[in-house]
């Protein structure tokens, strides 16, 4: 298929993006979370393929590290790569979301730093999947170009703040990402950023638009999950005959 003629359905995003992550080298369970993250990005009006394609590529190429290790400082937990290269957001996102889920279940405030993450915009997408139960999660980063972005997620939804009010989710990494969970439900920190007006498309009715180039990358990783066909598998591996003129 070439998914750019019409929007992708959510079911297609789930199917292809899950397996694209697997094709890039992740276990299936991480692929499932990756697809949910992609849908969240789409719900904000982002092209999810554009955001995830660099993360898939850097993971598959070995430019990003899949192994996350943790280090506890006095006031903060740090997650970092086990090697001297960027941390894969596809692996680090679920780790921090899980950590947040544990803190939320215990009704604790907490703060964590993810060091040198390859694609920062994926981190809030994973966090959004966690039930925060009355708390507020703040995810902040300063991109390689120096632009600060802050995303706030609570049970009512999401707000994005960025310098100049412009959201750059595609070329913002690698950089450190700070994730804080508090029991407060409103923000008092503006940090010189302006709220971004999100388009919030109705992706259930309108589908998800993806760019041709990043979609080709996602689809290319998806295809790595398919088993090449042979005459034998074509004849014996599936039901029904090769012709049916009953």
């Amino acid at each position: 298929m070439n998914g750019t003629q019409t929007p992708l359905s959510l079911n297609e995003v789930r199917f292809f993006f899950t397996r694209a992550a697997v094709g890039a080298g992740t276990p299936f369970g991480l692929g499932e979370d990756f697809a949910k993250a992609a849908i969240w990005l789409a719900s904000l009006g982002s092209d999810p393929a554009s955001v995830v394609a660099p993360a898939l590529r850097s993971l598959a190429n070995g430019e990003s590290d899949s192994k996350t290790i943790s280090r506890q400082d006095e006031t903060v937990t740090r997650y970092l790569s086990s090697e001297s290269k960027p941390l894969s957001s596809i692996y680090a996102g679920p780790v921090v979301a899980d950590w947040l889920g544990v803190a939320a279940a215990a009704s604790k405030d907490a703060r964590v730093v993810l060091e040198n993450v390859d694609q920062p915009a994926l981190i809030p997408a994973y966090v959004a999947a966690v039930q925060i139960n009355g708390g507020l999660a703040k995810i902040t980063w300063e991109s390689t170009g120096g632009n600060a972005t802050r995303i706030e997620i609570d049970s009512d939804g999401v707000n994005v703040f960025a310098e100049k009010g412009q959201m750059d989710f595609i070329t913002c990494g690698p950089c450190d990402v700070v994730v804080a969970l508090s029991r407060k439900t409103s923000s008092s920190d503006s940090s010189g950023t302006t709220e971004v007006a999100l388009s919030r498309p109705d992706i259930v009715k309108e589908g998800v638009n993806v760019g041709a180039e990043p979609w080709a990358i996602v689809f290319g990783f998806f295809r790595k999950c398919l088993v090449p066909s042979s005459d034998k598998s074509r004849q014996q591996g599936a039901g029904a005959g090769l012709t049916d003129n009953d």
């Binding site: 298929m1 359905s9 959510l10 276990p27 299936f28 499932e32 679920p94 012709t243």
Partner: protein, 571 residues
């Protein structure tokens, strides 16, 4: 039936446990019930007085062209847009890998305009290679039964009705080879229609598409016969037409589906088992109920007598079922007069009948209790999916495994036979296939259907962790178990979510999985063609479009072959 009474009934009778009903052998003996999805659709159309209308029929003398059939519900309309064309016999295959079909179909949300039909004409015949919008709810295709289609047309053109034995032997003019929904190829996601009452039960859009395809096939034989025979031609007798369903060829694609949607499968089974428990809890049966049930059993005996297949194993099972139905008829003379008659009925079947007989009786027991159980139909969908609980401890997860996955831990996965098979998507149009792990390439790309094996490995891995370690910590070090941890956690809330057998076993029978799903759809007359695929019949005996609101044809569970003079034998 008041809610309070339902609750009391439910409390009095325990549901059959998952370890009993989710074994492959029993799943492979499933039958449709009044909660099956086709049954729910026809019942709703009858209850709500749906109007069915042929809006367009631009087909040539051979039956090739464009048609539109619309179903008007109380609030919304749905239209089947159909394209029929000539294909060469050597191109006709029921496999996913086919490229052309006799008929291709889209179910449109509303009434399509010319521009919509033009867009669909450019895409629907391409099926998986086409692209669709959220205005389309389902995509399907089908191939004619050449031997029956031509015979019916030739007979009608000559002014005769077709041979009823041949008509009954095949049972359909066209068989669908795929009916897609929920977001496939750009079609609408289930979420778009989930809050519509008429779509609350699972697969209602797909079932409606098939029902309208059945109408089209009957119109096609009448039209082509008229074109060929002129004034001499006659219409297909409506008793014959009603006895025709739509065939379906189903293969391996269903198996991954059942594992992929554990909450959905749980909800199907939970509803059916709750229904059975409610009925079994009834304290008595009235004389009229007993008489109605005895009539139903007699009709079922005729139906089973007409269920003829080539498969030796299924033939033997049908023969056993036929004997058991004779016995059931005898038992009913006194059995249903006892206290808790439906429980006694089920217990008698469980003690004396084959699995096929037991499940047949369970389905029969539900049939006369619509007021008690029909509310469960709308609970069979699932718009949620399992969520990971990262705060759960290793001890907590281990306990769930020990409580719910004994079936998985009993297998020795170090033996080759325990992992002989692997399921995969082929690069040929993503066709699902089943391979031999030790003889074919691609096992490293297998679908995640090895639930038993993966749970067993998870149990082993957990032994290296302290009881109080959280899943967050465990999964950070072991991300390859994320999928199975999420699944295991869900089973507490969704106890019927797992098939209690090893789908990698050397002698696994995918056919059992196919039958289980198809029974929930409401199909009948399972006709296994191998361990990998089956043909079935959908809507055989269902009311015709102009009968949908009539009480006369409302009960159609056991259609019986019409007599050769053209009158239906029963139902």
């Amino acid at each position: 039936m008041h809610q309070q009474q339902k609750t009391e009934n439910h409390q009095q009778m325990q549901l059959r446990p998952a370890e009993q009903v989710m074994k492959l052998e029993r799943m492979g003996a499933s039958f449709q019930t009044r909660l099956s999805f086709m049954r729910q659709l026809i019942a709703r159309m009858h209850r709500e007085n749906w109007q069915l209308e042929r809006l367009r029929f631009d087909v040539d003398e051979q039956g090739y062209g464009t048609s539109v059939y619309t179903a008007h519900g109380p609030e919304r309309s749905y239209s089947l847009v159909a394209f029929t064309e000539h294909i060469e016999p050597e191109q006709r295959t029921d496999r996913v890998i086919a490229e052309v079909w006799d008929g291709t179909f889209s179910l449109f949300d509303g009434i399509p305009q010319d521009a919509d039909i033009a867009r669909l004409r450019a895409n629907t015949p391409k099926q998986e290679a086409g692209r669709f919008l959220s205005s389309e709810l389902s995509l399907a295709r089908g191939n004619k039964s050449l031997r029956l289609f031509e015979h019916v047309v030739a007979s009608l053109a000559q002014g005769k009705q077709p041979d009823i034995d041949l008509l009954a032997d095949v049972g359909y003019l066209m068989r669908t080879t795929a009916v897609y929904g929920s977001g496939k190829f750009g079609c609408a996601d289930r979420l778009k229609i989930a809050d519509r009452p008429e779509m609350a039960a699972p697969f209602q859009a797909e079932m409606l598409a098939v029902y309208l395809i059945r109408w089209l096939t009957i119109d096609l034989v009448n039209h082509v016969a008229r074109a060929r025979g002129g004034d001499q031609a006659v219409e297909l007798h409506r008793d014959y037409a009603r006895f025709l369903g739509i065939g379906n060829s189903t293969g391996l694609g269903i198996a991954p589906f059942l594992v992929k949607y554990p909450v959905l499968i749980n909800n199907w089974v939970q509803a059916r088992e709750t229904a059975l428990a409610r009925v079994r809890a009834l304290s008595s049966a009235s004389a009229s109920q007993i008489a109605s049930f005895q009539e139903l059993v007699e009709q079922a005996m005729v139906f089973a007598g007409e269920w003829v297949v080539a498969d030796e194993l299924q033939t033997a099972r049908i023969s056993t079922l036929q004997r058991e139905l004779v016995d059931l008829k005898e038992w009913c003379r006194t059995g249903l007069s006892q206290s808790q008659p439906w429980d006694m009925l089920y217990r008698y079947a469980e003690e004396n009948y084959s699995l096929e007989g037991q499940e047949f009786v369970a389905a029969l027991a539900l049939e006369l209790h619509g007021e008690l159980i029909d509310d469960l139909g709308s609970t069979m969908s699932a718009d949620t999916e399992p969520k990971l609980d990262p705060a759960m401890t290793v001890a907590g997860l281990r306990q769930i495994i020990d409580d719910y996955y004994g079936w998985a831990l009993d297998t020795d996965y170090s033996k080759n036979a325990s992992q002989q098979r692997f399921w995969y998507y082929s690069e040929d149009k993503l066709e699902p296939r089943l391979g031999d792990r030790y003889a074919e390439p691609g096992a490293e790309l297998e679908m995640p259907l090895a639930i038993g094996r993966d749970v067993s490995h998870l149990r082993d891995r957990l032994s290296g962790y302290g009881n109080n370690e959280t899943m967050a910590g465990f999964l950070m070090a072991n991300p390859d178990f994320r999928h199975i941890v999420r699944r295991v956690q869900a089973v507490v809330e969704y106890p019927y979510s797992e098939i209690h057998d090893n789908l990698l076993e050397a002698d696994v029978r995918p056919l059992d999985i196919l039958r289980f799903k198809l029974a929930f759809f409401g199909v009948s007359k399972f006709d296994p063609k191998s361990d990998l695929w089956t043909r079935v019949n959908m809507y055989q005996g269902a009311p015709l479009p102009d009968e949908i609101t009539s009480d006369e044809f409302h009960q159609w569970i056991f259609p019986v072959k019409p007599t050769s003079s053209g009158s239906a034998g029963a139902s």
